[in-house]
Symmetry: C2
Subunit: 470 residues, 2 copies
């Protein structure tokens, strides 16, 4: 059993840290974006890896839990502990330094508390790109992005957060520091602890700094909105684009009619791209090297798509302003969703070959439960859909809450049966611990528990996240 971070503990810890390191937690550190949980605990804001290690050692001695805290933008409650003995909320916000940048090596070493947008800016300043791109990049911090293996719109081309990380420095549950900030492209010296920590959501260690991969900025970008004849046509168009352009497709995002309708309903100032909102469209972005013209490449793709009966209409962005307008449509859909209020949201992924069948089959089953509206959109290139279910027009989420579990079970059961994942990019946190137990491979769960117990025998790191607290 853990102990609370009480007055006595606070005094002990305060004596080991610089003045001002500890405070009562403010509301910003006790809530999360969807308003499902409210946390409690003592806020610690260390300035250095040594101070993080001191906090972890002190917590281990006193058997006090620790909730690591990045930018607080997680959507599964990994950053908020609503019950149990009050933990230390360990925020990395004061550790936001750029430690070093190596443009010729396409590498950069940053502290975990750096805001993702600042990581982008630091890369840009040396003529490079850090491709991890998320709606929350203005407040999410890189340590949290790594702890949750964040995804976003550029995974198709550049991979998830773990693929963009060369090494991590982390404090382990016994307070020891893992010095793993190598910036090597090949290193086969022992077990891959980097990838074990990435995606463990702060339950195995606290990432304090990371060595990141940078990439060259493409010489030219091109963006188009293409109206497609359904999700299967979108996937065939993706295969066609990959055959023509290989790894040069930077984004391939699906947008359904519901998303456009929701924008009209809640954010009418956003200009609709087509006079009649199409049932399905894709946002395609190319990033090309010198010698290839993005306009010509997109036109070629459009023409072949039309000839194959996949594409019905389309607009190629003619200016940077229009490009941003296209992206704004995609990026404001989550905000429209928030304003309408989902009964149940699902961050799922499927093998690409199962995506269209899933969409076609799931809709009627949900319709059988009630007159719901479905907004299905997302990172089609990765098989990652945000499949969100809303009340009928004019209805209120609260009136349909009783159906939430039935909807969620229906969606997740179907995803699981098709070989998909019930958490594509948001992680497990506290929201999906039960889903992981229900759908996870039993051998995987047993191995996860064995690893958690081996590295964190007292269970102080993010208790109740990913795995049920013992």
């Amino acid at each position: 059993m853990l102990n609370p971070a009480d007055t006595g503990f606070r005094a002990t810890l305060a004596a080991r840290l610089p003045e001002g390191s500890l405070s009562d937690a403010d509301p910003a550190h006790l809530t999360e974006p969807r308003g499902r949980w409210t946390g409690h605990g003592l806020l610690a804001r260390p300035h250095s890896t040594d101070e993080v290690a001191t906090i972890v050692r002190t917590c281990a001695e006193a058997r006090v839990g620790i909730v690591p805290w990045g930018g607080g933008t997680g959507l599964v409650g990994g950053q908020v502990m609503p019950d149990g003995p009050a933990p230390v909320i360990l925020s990395l916000e004061r550790m936001a330094a750029l430690r070093a940048v190596y443009p010729e090596e396409n590498a950069m070493v940053v502290e975990a508390g750096m805001v993702l947008a600042d990581v982008h800016a630091n890369a840009q300043a040396v003529g490079r790109l850090f491709p991890l791109t998320l709606a929350s990049e203005g407040s999410a911090r890189i340590g949290g992005n790594l702890a949750t293996n964040a995804g976003g719109v550029h995974v198709l081309r550049y991979g998830n957060a773990r693929d963009l990380c060369l090494g991590v420095e982390a404090v382990l549950p016994d307070g020891s520091v893992l010095n793993g900030l190598k910036r090597l492209r090949k290193d086969n010296t022992g077990y891959d602890l980097k990838n074990l920590l990435i995606g463990s959501e702060g339950s195995l260690g606290i990432i304090t700094a990371a060595s990141l991969k940078l990439v060259p900025i493409p010489a030219a970008e091109g963006t188009a909105l293409l109206v497609v004849d359904g999700p299967q046509a979108a996937l065939r168009l993706l295969a066609l684009a990959q055959a023509r352009l290989g790894g040069l497709i930077s984004a391939f995002e699906l947008i359904g009619r519901a998303g456009l309708d929701f924008l009209t309903e809640t954010l009418p100032e956003i200009r609709q791209p087509f006079p009649t909102p199409p049932d399905w469209m894709v946002l395609v972005e190319l990033g090309l090297p010198e010698g290839l013209d993005p306009g010509a490449a997109l036109e070629g793709l459009f023409e072949e798509g039309v000839a194959e009966g996949l594409v019905l209409d389309g607009i190629i962005a003619a200016s940077e302003a229009q490009r941003q307008e296209f992206w704004r449509i995609r990026e404001m859909i989550p905000e429209a969703n928030r304003r309408i209020g989902a009964v149940s949201s699902h961050d799922i992924s499927l093998p690409l070959g199962e995506v269209a069948g899933f969409i076609a089959g799931c809709g009627p089953e949900i319709a059988a439960l009630g007159p719901f509206r479905i907004n299905c959109f997302g990172h089609l290139g990765d098989g990652n859909l945000h499949y969100n279910v809303f009340p009928p027009k004019g209805g209120k989420r609260a009136d349909w809450d009783a159906q939430r579990d039935a909807i969620k079970t229906l969606v997740h059961d179907r995803v699981h049966a098709l070989g998909g994942s019930v958490s594509a990019e948001h992680g497990i946190g506290r929201l999906k611990v039960g889903d992981l137990e229900r759908y996870g491979d039993p051998s995987k769960l047993a191995a996860m528990r064995a690893i958690k117990t081996a590295l964190d025998p007292i269970g102080i790191l993010n208790p109740g996240a990913v795995l049920r607290a013992l």
Copy 2:
């Protein structure tokens, strides 16, 4: 303590397996390419994952060790256990089936015993590329490639073996089967056991099948040999190429004068590309999409390289035959090395910014130890050098063996001091257990031991590989 796979154990295991599953180990399963070790043990060749699980469970009950065996091409002795109680040598060679292929998804599921060249052929048959490319691809098996996180010549563009794997099926040390064959691009449901198993060299689980990433075949390829003004010039040329061509550089291999001289000495039938062997050259390969001409791209790079003073001479392959001739030079260097006989070989990686300084500084220090010849070549784009030290011309390796430890320590100390790795792509096996203990981060080693003990408490899986047997 472990027990030997003795007559009684053999009878017990035989009763649980189809006839013909067990045999005395033949020399092919008891030796390794460099002839350093000779193994012993009972050979088991299961036909299915269930049979692998039966073997592992039976070994766990009887406390008998298991040495997983792929194609036997590993260079660090991971596949050969020379001492201790006789283990079961578990060869995956009878599990070589193609389970499924999904060209539209760029994915394929294969059993662990499939030879890498057959993985290539199966991908090619559906118009795709599986990019992992190694000298030993005709005999290495994909399970071993994954267990050792193999590298090779295309890492620069496509990553290491782990980057080409979507999921694994594996038998864990308790005989349970981890069903992880999902073919998803995004899946954040719990700890990353896939990457923990990949690179663990059979010490945490036995990979029985894998879901692999395929990529589109580039529309056109171009290959050139460019004479460069030293390693630093080569690295600047690489940066230049990346700025021009982003992710389209498929290979960037460094070849030094010694490699060319060794070919002349041992394989004179291989045609030298330049009348006078240059001190340093690079083999550059591009894989381009439609619309870009590889000849023009290489010429542009050559001209800019000359203008910047980096490139002194060059030949662009004018035919597929010439392209293969260029690759043959690169690929036969290891054979030339074998014929001459290295005193000490080093598979090292460095941050790209440290490569040139390492080469410049290490040579004189080795010269101070004796009149050695150094053949430094390899995957420069990844910072991965094969830095091999040979006796003087006419000398014999045996006469210089006494110097081996001093040379190895000198090279590895310097690599470590520069933030490099003493095993870039070959792994730890049994050869480098001491190096890992000497150079590895203490927290990393402690965490590795904790994980090994948690998952394999008896220590039956590949005893003595990666970590010293307890």
